[in-house]
Amino acid sequence: MAFKRQVGRLPIIPADAQEFNVTCHYCIVGCGYKAYTWPMNRQGGTAPEQNKFGVDLSEQQVMDAEAWYAPSMYNVVRQNGRDVQLVVKPDVNCSVNSGLGSIRGARMAENRPSRVTGTQAQRLSDPLVWRNGVWQPTSWDDALDLVARVTAKVVTEGSEDDLVVSMFDHGGSAGGYENTWGTGKLYFESMKVKNCRIHNRPAYNSEVHSSRDMGLDELNYAYKDYTLTDTIFMLGANSMETQTNLYLNHMVPGLQGGARMVVVDPRRTLTIASSEQYAGPENVLHLAIKEGTDLALCNAILTEIVDKGWTDAEFIAASTFPDGVAVAQDDAHPASLGSLEHAMTACRLSLDEAAEICGVPAADIARAAEWIAGPHEDGSRRKCVTCYEKGIIWGNDNYRTIGAIVNIALATGNVGREGGGVCRLGGHQEGYYRPGDAHVGRPAEYIDQFLIRGLGGVHHIWACDHYKTTLNASEFKRVHKRRSDIVKDAIDAAAGGTREQVVDAIVSAINAGGLFVVDVDIIHSQIGQNAHVILPACEANEMNLTSMNGERRLRLSEKYMDPWGNAKPDALIAAGVAQAMERVLREMGNDAYADQFKGYDWATEEDAFMDGYNKGNPEVTYERLRAMGNNGVQEPVTGFENGQLIGTERLYSDGRFTRHGREDGKALFCAAGWRGWQAPGKAREQAAHRFWINNVRANIFWQNQFLDQKNDFVQDRYPHPFVEMHPDDMVELGLNPGDLLEIINDNGVTQGMAYPMPTLKRNTVAMVFGSPAGSQGNVVNPGVNELVLPDYKHCWGDIRKISDATPQTAGISFKSPEAVL
């Protein structure tokens, strides 16, 4: 039986409840919400003057009403040391979501830690230090002193290259401009750490190098372009599930207004199913290509557009590089860049060749080209907005494939104009503000391999759980644990020693191959099992946090509750590490180095914001952002007039492209020749195993699965990570719905729960990515591209049944997710 909250009544928000601006911190879309708080001894009433909405709540509310909230939107939290009642509900006045909540964001309140209701008791409340064989709670001073002493000793006895850092670079969640600045200042200004990586990939690098090298920032449009366009061209993305309210509030009105849609994806996604409902199946073209062949498809589409004369000659002449090669192919550029003619020498591919490679009819590829670029009957130009995400970014040949996508947008003049744009869709919000990272190098160090090779002595981890979100995870985990255990054993053996003796024992263990691990997170994560010091951090709204969404919309999401226990914002934790480093280095007599750690006297996250983002963007302050509310301002901010921050609706509307730093402002095309599987080992693995193990995301918990592992509503639906399979494949393997299975290949093993999905192709499965209960990364090989971008999406394995369905898995619904209307 489905989980029910057994709630028949909720407290009513009183008319005078306090109100806060909230940007949902889970996904890139950044929907606007309002948080309301009020004292425990008060409640609103049903009469209009007694409640926040000013409506009669003794009556049934109509559909899409503002004056309703679900039990998941209510909680009791701490505010200024007192329990208060809290409602967090979608904001009808936010242009991003117009009052729509999603299954993730509309549970923000319920996913807050509460001593009263017991939600999210998994949140870390105190610093923990490995002592006496367990993690002992302790003070910040004690924990930071140990971190600084070990780190200082290792980087001074060796070098800063012995410090490995895993750090998020995103906005939303616990990221944002404040926190990326805090860690950025620590590691890129006070130190020059080059052995670092980002939360979801094994190096410190861009996910969209080629777009930037071609001159285009990857977020260049406005969400409204989806309603102004003629065609939505989507590749390797499933926005109904992963940018939900961007899809519902912007793409759907576009489709209902007559736009067509081309979707490139090996599987039939729910975005395709829903778009067929909204636009009519005749207006949705699904190109169900063979996995990893997007590049060939895009090249054939571009060839068709060029050959049919559907390019935008004026735009190309005015805004793109005219003659030959501008950037040669080299170690840092997996393809050369230059003029359209130059690109075509590498990209040219016929419809028939592409049909053969991609496994879709040539006529469908031609139709896609026509829908993207064929002029209207009256000869006018067709508008097309192009969007892509992990199917491309984590796919085969990242650099060239993104280059090939951007080629199409440039050739058709679909950038910087209404109804255009060529953008990644995004995962988290953005919120990157750091000192320069040029010292990291390009290609950057492959950090996982660096650690696996036994290099590095100290590992600082900021809200990254590589146990769940790295490739080659089986080996990584084995080595990371072994190296961490060497240090744990040394600490245990030094029990009762002075701080100095313990630090010496730790450093000796590091020199013997050990790894000292510091984990900053909001929960005790899986990689946190290897930590020696664990530091508790905050999320958005437990601190003030600024981020921008997928159309560069910058908002201040306001603090409405206290940090959990003694947790702190990451920015202030970074400041604490820096201050401890300064003190310890001075004690060590290293004054010059100690001086580099000055400048962290921040009392609040706002101080970190002023020290970082505001220095580069002096117009932008908390006060002004607060006044801009949930609609905020689209970056870049260009001024402040009449009490309003002035933003930029879309980039490159002047036809000048600058992301590559070229003075001439000309965009470059990418000579993105097709070369089959780019990453090592993929072709061999494909040949050796029956099933393609696609990894996918799910509406219900993507971007907040770490919280939802303790959320009853979610755990009731998916008690184990789902592995969707064709029913005929299930029958052949003797699997019933809900049976537990394992996926095996040379890289490792992972497990999940069989879920029948008749729309899948045979011999492919779709396994949820990043699950705490079964890491898909275990079976992904270490193959990356030239710039160390992982190809998570291409992995093959065999499948074996582990067990019959458990009582828990047997009870859930296994019906198709596609609505039948």
Binding site: F3, K4, G8, G811
Partner: protein, 174 residues
């Protein structure tokens, strides 16, 4: 039907009112005059017991429109044709659900093919054979199910709801 129900509710409230008065009077003697008296209220929503239909009125896999706890809260009563967890009646197959989508309150429609309730708004769907579990969708709760009881004569009564119904902050409106 609505009137009958209101009469029913009124009578029950009236009886409880007597008990409240007694407790209030006792409290008053302790706190003395000049101080506000706390109003005693019940902790749970008090659901009416409403007759929805008789088993004889139901055909297998054909939903019947109902309203519960009152006519402004539309729902369906379904004899699924096979026993399900939480089903009532001699075959254990009778269930009832709200049809207001707990996402944004659009009206769900029943698909007899796979016994699901589907939302035209944003395509959420709920499984009538799994206690209203959201198969896929945007709602942050599973579908409110009406607790049913069948009398010896086949009359089906609803007397409770297990989730908050869309559009009301109290399942029984004040």
């Amino acid at each position: 039907m609505k009137c009958n129900r209101l009469v029913d509710v009124g009578r029950r409230q009236f009886l409880r009112g007597g008990l409240v008065a007694t407790a209030g009077a006792a409290a008053a003697t302790v706190v003395g005059t000049g101080q506000a008296q706390a109003q005693t209220a019940l902790a749970l929503v008090d659901y009416p017991a409403n007759r929805l239909a008789n088993i004889a009125d139901l055909a297998a896999n054909e939903p019947m429109d109902i309203g519960y706890p009152d006519a402004d809260s539309p729902g369906v009563l379904i004899k699924l044709g096979n026993a399900v967890d939480g089903g009532v009646g001699p075959d254990g197959d009778i269930v009832a659900f709200s049809v207001l989508c707990p996402h944004k309150g659009w009206m769900l429609s029943y698909n007899a093919g796979d016994r699901t309730l589907n939302c035209p708004g944003h395509h959420s769907r709920f499984d009538c054979e799994s206690g209203g579990q959201q198969i896929w969708g945007h709602a942050t709760q599973n579908l409110p199910q009406f607790r049913l009881r069948v009398e010896d004569d086949g009359d089906i009564f609803a007397d409770g709801v297990d989730e908050l119904i869309y559009g009301r902050l109290s399942n029984v409106l004040a």
